[in-house]
């Protein structure tokens, strides 16, 4: 949680020093993303460092992946709880006394505590499994695998953007997303990404050589 904590400290100092509360509602921060990116990096390393060791002490790839998945789920739940608690404190203290909305910015803010746990925790699960997937791509195909994965990501995202712009679908997509409850979007979409990444990881790990 160090990455998120550091980002929070920096943001709080900025809000306090620059008195961003007076700047109006536009002064928002996505600093909590640092926590999510840190989780991704931790899980990349969990594969590159721990998988060879785990196989060295006679665990199967499948047992390792199962363990990593259980750990990712437990950690997402624990961090989801912590984020929900921090969000409650943030609300109660009027943004830590400086009007800072850090732990659940904008649409991530839920109406009640259990929903907040799910909305904060579900993206963590997605980042954790993406990290596992990147780690496995690295172990199986080396840096070429990671570059390939990055290129594929750019192609899919960039291609989708071009397609949507070309077909002028932005308005329809905007309407569709605004019709969906943000909870469904922020819990369901990351969960679907996590499940997809887990399935791809399972397929990819089968021939990893430590």
């Amino acid at each position: 949680m160090g990455g998120g904590g550091l980002a929070f400290a920096l943001n709080w100092a900025l809000w306090r020093l620059a008195d961003l509360r007076r700047q109006g509602e536009d002064a928002v921060t996505g600093g909590v993303l640092a926590l999510y990116v840190t989780v991704l990096c931790v899980f990349v390393e969990a594969v590159t460092q721990l998988l060879p060791f785990a196989m060295g002490i006679s665990l199967s790839r499948r047992a390792y992946l199962f363990g990593a998945a259980v750990y990712a789920m437990a950690m997402s739940l624990a961090y989801g709880l912590a984020l929900a608690v921090l969000t409650s404190v943030e609300t109660a203290t009027d943004g830590w006394g400086v009007g800072l909305t850090f732990w659940a910015p904008g649409p991530v803010k839920a109406d009640n505590f259990p929903l907040q746990v799910a909305m904060s925790g579900s993206p963590l699960l997605a980042f954790a499994f993406i990290g596992i997937g990147i780690g496995i791509a690295y172990k199986r195909w080396g840096t070429n695998g990671v570059w390939g994965l990055t290129l594929l990501g750019i192609l899919v995202l960039g291609g989708s953007t071009v397609l949507i712009t070309w077909r002028s679908w932005w308005d329809e997509i905007g309407l569709l997303l605004s019709d969906l409850p943000s909870a469904a979007l922020l819990i369901g979409l990351p969960a679907a990404i996590a499940v997809t990444a887990a399935a791809l990881s399972f397929a990819g790990i089968r021939h990893v050589v430590p």
Binding site: L50, F53, G56, I57, S58, L59, S60, V209
Partner: protein
């Protein structure tokens, strides 16, 4: 003896390279086997196949009667310590040992503790702060303390000094005497371990060139030196492994074939000495003489 692990007609091909070529091997229960061969001969690949770390292109791999690939029931009875085994950087030495203790059911904590003391390992130091030799000592400690029914060491002594290597060999022998298990030592430090071995397998270019009991191998070969024709005549009666000639003089490594009566090279005017295991292995691993003979001819054709 009962075989606990068996490779049957195993071939492992990489893109442009055949690492194992129709290998048939059986590891007997309770034996200490030396897996010898040059770098790139196929030793590591063979051990990776035995532990399910690689799946062979063709052939059958069985350990305790089942395929080891992704087989937890088999894997927990195997310990594989490979050259330069990576332990997580952020682990302390004791963390690595604790993790191994949790996954290896025959783990002996007392043995691990005594090995840590004997190798002078700092239990509280992070792995990334260890020297290369200390990292190897962590691997060796895990391998020995695992007491796994099949324990495979793949050149585990990287960076270890001669004293620490001796300590490893002594502890391995002592512990094996009390707790017999199947051990494979892949190495090219042949002389150092030749006394430990009960069985020897030489692998060269992916093929098993020698598969023999160590006692029967010791004293089974001689190096004879003398007149080329006499050396050739002596070698004809046995198995010539390799010969080198300078002028009329030849020197040959010859495996003696039992033919009912003793054959004394001295009687033929040849001087001789028993070939050590290392001499025999080196002679068998060098390029074939036909190939060696062709090299100078090719070189002669290069314009100056």
């Amino acid at each position: 003896m009962t075989a606990v692990a068996r490779l049957t007609d195993v071939t492992m091909r990489f893109r442009e390279h055949t690492a194992l070529d129709q290998v048939d091997v059986a590891l007997e229960q309770g034996s200490i086997t030396g897996l010898l061969g040059r770098n790139g001969a196929g030793k590591t690949t063979m051990l990776q196949v035995l532990t399910g770390h690689r799946v062979p292109t063709s052939g059958v791999v069985e350990v305790f009667g089942a395929a080891p690939y992704e087989n937890d029931a088999v894997l927990r009875r195997i310990s594989f310590i490979k050259e330069g085994q990576r332990h997580p950087d952020h682990f302390r030495v004791r963390d690595a040992l604790t993790a191994a203790a949790r996954t290896l059911p025959s783990w002996d904590g007392d043995l691990a503790g005594s090995l840590v003391r004997e190798f002078d390992l700092p239990a509280g130091r992070k792995i990334k702060k260890l020297s290369r030799g200390m990292n190897s000592a962590v691997g060796i400690t895990i391998g020995l303390a695992s007491r796994a029914p099949v324990t495979l060491f793949d050149e585990p002594y990287l960076g270890l000094d001669a004293v620490a290597r001796r300590l490893f060999y002594d502890r391995l022998l002592a512990d094996h005497a009390e707790h017999p298990r199947t051990i494979v030592l892949s190495t090219h430090l042949i002389e150092e371990i030749s006394d430990l071995l009960e069985h020897i397998r030489l692998i060269d270019r992916g093929r098993i060139r020698l598969d023999a009991d160590a006692p029967s191998l010791r004293g089974s070969a001689v190096t004879v030196t003398g007149d080329g024709e006499r050396v050739a005549a002596f070698a004809d009666r046995h198995e010539l492994i390799r010969t080198e000639s300078v002028g009329r003089q030849s020197r040959a490594v010859v495996r003696l074939v039992e033919n009912g009566h003793p054959d004394d090279p001295s009687a033929m005017g040849l001087s001789w000495e028993p070939a050590s295991l290392q001499q025999l292995v080196v002679a068998m691993s060098l390029p074939t003489q036909g190939a060696a003979a062709r090299v100078p001819a090719d070189l002669e054709g290069v314009p100056r």
